[in-house]
Symmetry: none
Subunit: 249 residues, 2 copies
DNA sequence: AAACTTGGTTTTGTATATAAAACCATTTTT
DNA sequence: AAAAATGGTTTTATATACAAAACCAAGTTT
């Protein structure tokens, strides 16, 4: 690193925050000073500043924990990527064309983490708020992202001795075998469907978003109620694939 | 503020992060330098340091957005208090008894900041991911915490000349008058309800968590879909009040 | 209760982060 | 294509953040 243009005060702030995050509510000024080898008086100014900014909070007993301003910034950092922006831009257009809702999500272990959505003005909507999680194996979004993993990865993710799949509806898959079979098909066709596997009355199509290296980094889906699904299934798949392609690098 | 023990470099870092969070991917070095009235060369060092720490990320086109280390720290900022630990311990029991989801939140200005949750395995769940914010006046959690404030505090928080309340659903309150009236009742009964005020199809009960001085420092809530609400309303209120009492000092 | 810890607060001299200006590589204008 | 502007990088002088030590208030020890 360019040793010349560092600003140590910020680097120290970072060290302090990291240390506090590892022992929340345990460390006093003197502890931080000792473990980080920063002089008491310097630590005093640093902590006072961090406290004024709301990055740390002092408790009774003079011990420190991370503060709310930090969680505010952290939350903003979560909703950052330009993936998000382009999703909203393109999905709003797709929403106009199709009249249904679109979702953006990432895979987090065995769960789908919803990042953003563009919601159509349909009377009944699926509650896919950003931040929500659902089991990956029971959603189109989840399956299309799992399909990027190898069979070995899937085995590692779903060990045989683990509890069986939670089934959200009667249509949810219940075994790893069924999942692998399904993923095989998804790899071939390039998209995934969820036919009332997560919520009765709702179906869904999802397609993968890839980075420049071809790895799946996220996925988009379009969800709708069953009556609409019968009519729009084909165009739904098309829109989702098109959208996923636009969001890929 | 004690003007003597500030460390400006950190305060500047804070300003920069805040500015970037408001215009992610839009601002270049020169823009930040201008709007924050910080010299180009200083900004250069500051940004270089922030980038090395993973607090910001530079994009092609030399524009900046918040980085992953910041979201990591921000996330850690939630899982902090021992309030949190006891919440998870007790709420998981309450969840088993009631079969519904519980939330822990703090009041931050006019917003409710969700801190933690214990989620029941219901197919459709409210998206109360830690870090999420909702207008306080439209949620049970928010109202029960606002109820700890005096009417004067409420007036200060919601100035007459400000924009009117954002209503999330048709049931959301729309005026300060209505809010004050509602708070009066909440103070008497000791808990707050949200009857589809935040999300259509969801209702919610919340009770306040107090410190040793009796001040409200946080709140817990239990949310569920309408059909369940009809059956469990009473036991929901009981569980929430019991939980809040356990979490109070 | 006097002496000793412990841990937060002040003071002061010095090391260093920052502002200003010069610099340079690209891009835009004429 | 020369001139001007834009925006990132370097240099240098100075303002200021930090380390060390002294200080003080509370809590322990003997």
């Amino acid at each position: 690193m360019d040793d010349k243009y560092r600003v140590p005060a910020i680097e120290r702030a970072h060290l302090i925050l990291k240390e506090i995050s590892q022992h929340p509510g345990k460390l006093k000024l003197i502890d931080l000073s000792r473990t980080l080898a920063i002089n008491k008086s310097s630590m005093y100014s640093l902590l006072l500043t961090l406290e004024n900014l709301g990055w740390v909070e002092k408790e009774t007993g003079e011990t420190y924990r991370l503060g709310r301003e930090l969680s505010r910034l952290g939350h903003a950092a979560f909703q950052r990527s330009n993936l998000n922006e382009t999703f909203h831009k393109e999905a709003s257009l797709a929403k106009l064309r199709l009249g249904e809702s679109f979702q953006l999500a990432k895979l987090d272990g065995r769960e789908v983490l919803y990042i953003a959505k563009e919601e159509a003005l349909t009377p009944v909507r699926l509650a896919s708020e950003p931040g929500m999680r659902l089991p990956a194996h029971a959603t189109a979004l989840g399956k299309v992202m799992l399909a990027d993993l190898s069979n070995d990865d899937i085995d590692a993710l779903y060990p045989a001795d683990q509890e069986p799949f939670s089934h959200l509806t009667v249509n949810s898959m219940t075994t790893v075998q069924a999942l692998k079979l399904s993923l095989e098909q998804i790899r071939e066709q390039g998209y995934a469907l969820d036919l009332e596997e997560a919520v009765i009355g709702f179906s869904c199509a999802a397609a993968p978003i890839r980075n420049a290296q071809g790895q799946v980094i996220a996925a988009v889906s379009c969800s709708m109620m069953l009556p609409q699904w019968e009519q729009k299934k084909q165009s739904c798949i098309e829109e989702v694939c098109k959208l996923a392609h636009q969001l890929s690098d």
